[in-house]
């Protein structure tokens, strides 16, 4: 016996219809690459997006075609987010921080035929376009330079033909967007999001125990629109009517703080390294920014040190909420809210909880597996996190990476976690980064987060280095804060109270900077290569 419920497909068009009906007056503020601030209403964004949709159809884009973007966070990029899926095409956000060779193979693999690129990124595009099937270039964020045979975005949408736009009646399982993994592990692989995945993900972003995105919010995704669709926030914002602030390429701490204050941002989101920079700027000039509207910052993409969470909150009154996700999960997997059972807990217990990645959101399920099978939820046993859920990938585009899926279909995240008795996960490592010493696992992330709590440490990464006796031993790679001084012995002594003896790094090396991935995370593979022989194994 079937339910008698309307067939209401969960599509990006449904999100646009809602925003068009209820939120045309709400605001999108963009900082362009030339630092200009431009303002639009959602009504304008939607109308312009419809004209872009008509223009793309006119250019021959057909349902199922992949249309790439190569741009910073701004309103034209946002318009592309909605124009492309609503004509049945597939939005492919290229990561402008990747090497041109990677971009060439990604755009080739995806079969992109059209790209919308920022004018400032045309030189980058020129480095790889010839190795792809990209036949047309549309130039966004233009300042008036030469664009050759490319089309100007504004000219393209100048004709007022948005009434010609008939949104595709997409099936909810049709592809809406494709993102490639950032390649921290292995070569980039395409993750294809269905319309349904995006809508369900947006609903959960709007849940009080999700990200709580609501009409009263002004959301600033500091995370790039080419990283898992800016964590899905643009879709959630249009669905709920939250204002959007798009910071363009100006991601330095001062620019971010200035936008937060000026635009009365209530919610911002980005990777830990961004907020480490923000913290340093705030510490240098306490009280210089009015952040009273900022109700919460979501930190994800890598583990945030407890010291960062505590400092932003206690010294600057900014609430930090830890979240966890992956390209393969669109990305939201878990959020660390303080649950009611911790109301009476000591502040340090609450902080310890908040430094974990928290609980799976609705429609996402977790389990963890070691070589001995599923690990108990005891907060101690480590295993690789596996997940399933309503917006989790079931395969990669083209069928690569089959080994990332368990026999029963669960996705193997590659993250080594513990799961608390209540179900909160704590990322202890990437499976490739965990230090395997004498048959036991040492969490490089736990050591890093602790080191970054030392007042003289700006950044710290811990990597596994081959060792004759133990197989591998941890090595700490540390960047000192400018003007500070600390010794190897002092740092080891600083770690001692928090860890069993055999977890402590055998050595600390000081460097000027830690190499970063395109997503702003530590590139530990580079460190491992550099220090491979540090413990004498060649």
């Amino acid at each position: 016996m079937n339910g008698l419920t309307m067939d209401f497909p969960l599509t990006v068009s449904a999100i646009v219809r809602r925003c068009d009906a209820l939120f045309r007056h709400k605001a999108v503020t963009s900082r362009l690459p030339d630092r200009r601030i431009v303002r639009h209403t959602y009504g304008e964004i939607i109308d312009r997006s419809r004209r872009l949709a008509v223009a793309l159809r006119r250019l021959g884009v057909m349902p199922g075609d992949r249309v790439a973007t190569l741009g910073w966070n701004h309103h034209q990029h946002l318009e592309a987010y909605f124009a492309i899926p609503t004509i049945g095409a597939v939005l492919h956000t290229l990561n402008l921080r990747l090497h041109p060779d990677d971009l060439a193979s990604i755009a080739h693999d995806a079969g992109d035929t059209v790209v919308l690129a920022d004018e400032s990124l045309l030189p980058l595009l020129a480095c790889f376009r010839s190795r792809t099937a990209i036949g047309r270039v549309i130039v966004m964020a233009r300042t008036g330079g030469q664009i050759g045979d490319a089309a100007d975005y504004e000219e393209l949408i100048a004709r007022d033909d948005s009434s010609d736009h008939v949104p595709m009646d997409n099936a909810e399982n049709a592809a809406a967007a494709i993102c490639y993994t950032s390649g921290t592990t292995g070569s980039p692989k395409g993750v294809v999001y269905s319309h349904r995945a995006i809508v369900l993900h947006s609903l959960v972003c709007g849940m009080t125990d999700g990200l709580g995105v609501c009409e009263r919010d002004t959301i600033m995704p500091v995370v790039s629109m080419f990283h898992v669709n800016a964590w899905g926030l643009p879709f959630a914002a249009l669905m709920t009517g939250a204002n959007l602030v798009l910071p363009g390429p100006c991601l330095d701490a001062a620019s971010i703080l200035e936008l937060c204050q000026q635009e009365r941002v209530t919610c911002a989101a980005g990777v830990p390294t961004v907020w480490l920079g923000v913290l340093a700027t705030l510490d240098a000039a306490p009280g210089a920014y009015d952040l009273s509207r900022l109700r919460r910052i979501f930190i994800g993409g890598a583990a945030a040190p407890a010291a960062l969470i505590q400092a932003l909150e206690e010294r600057h009154g900014v609430r930090v909420v830890h979240a966890w996700g992956m390209t393969e999960s669109a990305p939201l997997g878990s959020v660390c809210w303080v649950t009611s059972d911790l109301d009476e807990a000591l502040p340090e217990q609450q902080l310890a909880h908040r430094a974990t990645q928290g609980f799976p959101v609705p429609l996402v399920e977790f389990r963890a597996r070691s070589e001995q099978g599923l690990v108990p939820w005891d907060g101690i046993s480590m295993g690789e996190l596996e997940m399933r859920g309503a917006w989790v990938a079931k395969a990669y585009y083209g069928g690569q990476g089959e080994d990332r899926f368990a026999d029963d279909g669960w996705f193997k995240t590659g993250d080594i976690v513990t799961i608390s008795p209540r179900g909160a996960i704590e990322i202890r490592d990437r499976s490739k980064d965990v230090v395997k010493s004498g048959g036991e696992w040492i969490s490089s992330v736990a050591l890093e987060c602790s080191l970054m709590g030392h007042p003289a440490v700006a950044e710290a990464a811990v990597v596994a280095v081959p060792h004759a006796k133990w197989g591998e031993r941890p090595l700490a790679v540390v960047v000192m804060k400018s003007g500070c001084c600390v010794t190897e012995q002092e740092l080891i002594a600083y770690l001692e109270p928090g860890f069993v003896r055999w977890w402590l790094p055998d050595a600390v090396v000081f460097v000027d900077e830690i190499p970063r991935t395109a997503a702003g995370k530590f590139r530990k593979t580079a460190l491992r290569d550099r220090f491979r022989t540090h413990y004498g194994v060649t």
Copy 2:
């Protein structure tokens, strides 16, 4: 091109799995018909629910079978909510306030074969069971009386065989529950909710701009579990981990207030008549109850007078949020949050907004139609509200009521509304209750809500009475507060500033009480019959 997203069916089993993994420690508090308070954890509820599922299978219940309940709000009823759908059967909550003849035809129409009934309701069951296909009776909330050939609920689930429970891998479009409309218009008709409808509805209940249900909540559905599944709150509570307080049959104001205080309820929900009673009790003993935990009350099922919203808030510090829905929409259709554009508005403007039914929630869409076609969103033009959405009925069980669906599939709600330029609906009437005077419509609801703001008026209903010249004219039927006195002329004069002259009732009659439907709403058909000739037309 399809998305590559996992097949993760949206089912009641997915809700239970989540609660089982994360919220086994959270609490369900029930008041039984004999006023005893009993407490369970969700872990206990889920285990007991699984045993009930196994027992129902043992009794021969097959996928697709309808299993009825006839009970108040308590933990056993809650267990049935989850046991029945997870074995693929269909939960049918019978409305114990209906006449036995109606219950007979409803249970017959649904094809119920098993019923779980409260012991106190066995006499009611005896009045109609012989006219149905109900072959088995399971007795809930038992106090030790004789139950004849019926089975005792606790004996049935005593055997610890919950490990035998293999939840059905239901398709998400399978039927999970059936509710009959309360019959305010026409004969009761069955609405069949799919698993998918229930899950999507629960997600939106958890949205900040939905009902905001979250882990930190303690939810008390004062609305009965036989009214649209207690507005879906039990499903939302298990999904989010909110505690539940189930008040049983003790729905008097003192009992409700006592539970709110004792159990630290953060969120309660019910029809306006319940809260009118609560207000009177609070007014009679200001400060007698500590309601500091109560963050919000949802009022729905009928329009709440602005005076009620204002009084509960200003005199007793209880935030009231207006919501609107129907059996046909599971029920959530709209919620009236104060949007950011009203932050700077005057208190009376905010209150006027809050007395409307607000904005459609995500995945629900509204339009309104008069005889001239779709009405403009101007806040003035009245039309019948039509809706579509991801949990809205596409048909009634058995195919009755086809005339309630527009040619393009939208559901005709039968509610006469205006829609503001921002998209907020205001219920002006049921289409059968609107007063058609000289070709124009007069909102009986607007007149009633205004009359109920008069200090001497306890309740007021306005009905259309046949009139020789104008076709119909409004008549006000008023119940005075005890100890108060007011005249017809005073009430008409009280209305005058707020309405155009021709909207004013031609007469006011005073009565001792206004007849109610089974859902606690005014039974206006009875009033119309009684006063049909009041203006001289026979």
